[in-house]
């Protein structure tokens, strides 16, 4: 064996030493590193979101508290009066409080109002006002956060003009949910007026089950 052959043999050995371990180990190691990095990139996005979420959580708690209070104030006294007899109690109470004789009370049927449809711009604009809530989050919640129903009411009442106006005034305290559609009042006498007709519409707002936690 010549010196050249020996050198070639050594070079071949070195190449084999370099090639064989690399052939079996390097792809696995590199693949492992690549996978881990890809996984880290994916997880780091979620991690950032988590971190941000943890940062915004106190704000969310405070904002929710404010909203709950606001919504409780916005909900009318008529909320949950989904039974007609409950309305009977309302109007008889109003009449008696104002010395009005309620001679006739006609209650119609509950009609559910379709939920308003908001445009994307409206929702997006609204969502942007809430820290950490996106338009997608907002759009994912159904429209019928509350159920709104209307029921027509017709009353025949007897009473003085002033008492009738007091009754109207008392009903106006519910003006957000009670609308006096028509009324006819003769004014030729200060005495009791008989047969005054009053037509109104009552709106019932009920929180839906899905909106509450």
């Amino acid at each position: 064996m010549t010196k050249r052959d020996k050198v070639l043999l050594v070079v071949l050995g070195v190449l084999l030493l370099l090639f064989i371990p690399n052939y079996f180990l390097t792809p696995q190691l590199v693949s492992g590193i690549t996978d881990a990095r890809a996984q880290y990139q994916t997880l780091s996005v979620a991690h950032s979101a988590y971190q941000q979420m943890l940062g915004t959580l106190p704000n969310l708690r405070q904002y929710r508290s404010i909203l709950d209070t606001e919504l409780a104030g916005e909900l009318p006294e008529t909320q949950g009066m989904t039974k007609t007899y409950e309305l009977h109690y309302l109007f008889t109470e109003l009449a008696s409080q104002n010395d009005i004789e309620l001679t006739s009370l006609q209650l119609g049927s509950f009609t559910e109002l379709a939920a308003p449809e908001f445009t994307e711009e409206q929702l997006a604009g609204f969502a942007n006002q809430i820290a950490g809530i996106t338009f997608a989050d907002f759009a994912a919640v159904p429209d019928n956060a509350v159920k709104v129903q209307s029921i027509p009411v017709s009353l025949s009442i007897n009473g003085t003009r002033d008492n009738i106006l007091k009754l109207v005034d008392a009903m106006n305290d519910y003006s957000d949910y009670l609308v006096i559609n028509s009324i006819s009042v003769p004014m030729d006498s200060e005495s009791e007026i008989v047969g005054t007709n009053l037509a109104a519409t009552v709106y019932i707002v009920s929180p839906t089950g899905g909106t509450a936690e």
């Binding site: 590193i33 949910y177 509450a212």
Partner: protein
Amino acid sequence: MIAVDIGDTHIKIAELESTDKQLRLVQSFIQVIDSPVLDQNQLLDADRLAEYLRPAFAKMRSRDVVISFSCMATVANEYTIPYEKNDLKRLAMVKSKVFQNLSPEEYLVDYRLGAVLAGEQAPMCSVTAYIVPRSIVAGAYQCIFKLGKRPRGFEVAQNSAFDFAKRLITQKSFIIVHVSVKKLTAHLINFPHDVITRVVELNQPQEESFTGLFGGDLSAETIAAPEVSLAEELWSMVSKLTQYQAIKYPGTTLESIYLTGSATTPEHAQLLTQNSDIPTRILGRDWMPIRTSAEQEGNTVSLFYNLGAAMSTGEINFFQVLEQESRRKVNKGARTVRLVFLLTILVQLIFFAILIGVRQREQGRVASLQDFMTSPEVLQLVTEDAGHRSRIIADERALLQIADLQSKIDAEMGFSTDIFATVESVRPPNVTLLSFSYQAGVLNIVCNTENDNPPADYAKALEGTGRFSDIDYRGFSQGDGKVSFAITCTLGKEVTP
């Protein structure tokens, strides 16, 4: 393998290791002996030989032992110029037959045939046979067995100290002649060639000696050989070697002739000097340096030692030189190859270590993120977050629906006492309100008065309140001294109360 050289004044013991087809010296010992333990015919004192060998053997791991005996009986030699190749074969056959006649129970034969070939011819040829009494070999073998080693063979070495001396001479071409009481030996050295030329037993009747050993089967020429004269044989040897030198290496010249041995005398040197112009010098009996005229002329040969004595005192460690050389030769290439492979493996290991480290670091980062995101605290916070968001959105939507409802209710423009108060606030004093009715944003009032101006004034005053988008007045009628009239007021969406 353990090599033992049994000499007359020293026993040299060396442990050798076979590495990559070369021998490497592991360790060596020199044992000075008081008197020879063997002579040419027998092992004189086996127990003493064992005692000499025991300390060295105890330190050696190898079990196989080969022995070298010095200066055994030379029974035949032949020297020819020139010789055909076939003649060499024939000669070997003849000599083999001669030795076959020896008693195998008593003697062992070390038979050597040496020749320098030049093409089909052998210009120089030597045939030498040494007869070794079996008792010596058997005694030595038993001695080795007793020491727990295995004898693997023996070697007959002639003039071993003389051979060592030749290696110390740095000239490339010279003759060295060893003259002892019993033998005359001459060598022609052409480095790296070594031609053993002739060994002659002195002062013995050749015919008688040979007849006693070989019976009547020898050639007439050999049997008739006369007793050898030392001076004649000495000059004959040198002249033949000089002749050979001229034939084999034309153009080269012999640089020196060395005379050694206990029987060497200045007369021998003088004889050679008178018959040859080659510088001749005598090496001292104990191999100590001797200054000669040649050295004074600048010759580099100056120092020779009795190697056994020098090595036993540590003055010269010949084996150490061998050891360094052999290690250098054996290990140089292997060491380089090992180094290359180790470096390659090291680089590979570093490379893989880096890759594994990077992978573990990346996996650790992933694991830390996963641990964070799957921890119960975080999951609870996420759930709470989702609940807050859901509730907030629901509340916002509910508020939006309620706001939308308010818009619708506002659009319906229901009756309120404000409207009546507005009507009453601008009513002229002499106008009486008889009745009013309201439906769908339209207020109709019926009044009377005592003259015809107030109806228009009243309508104008109602217009002036800004509460109504339209005021419709259609005239009056008179009856019973009163003027009756009606005014229709339309509430407008755009009108601010």
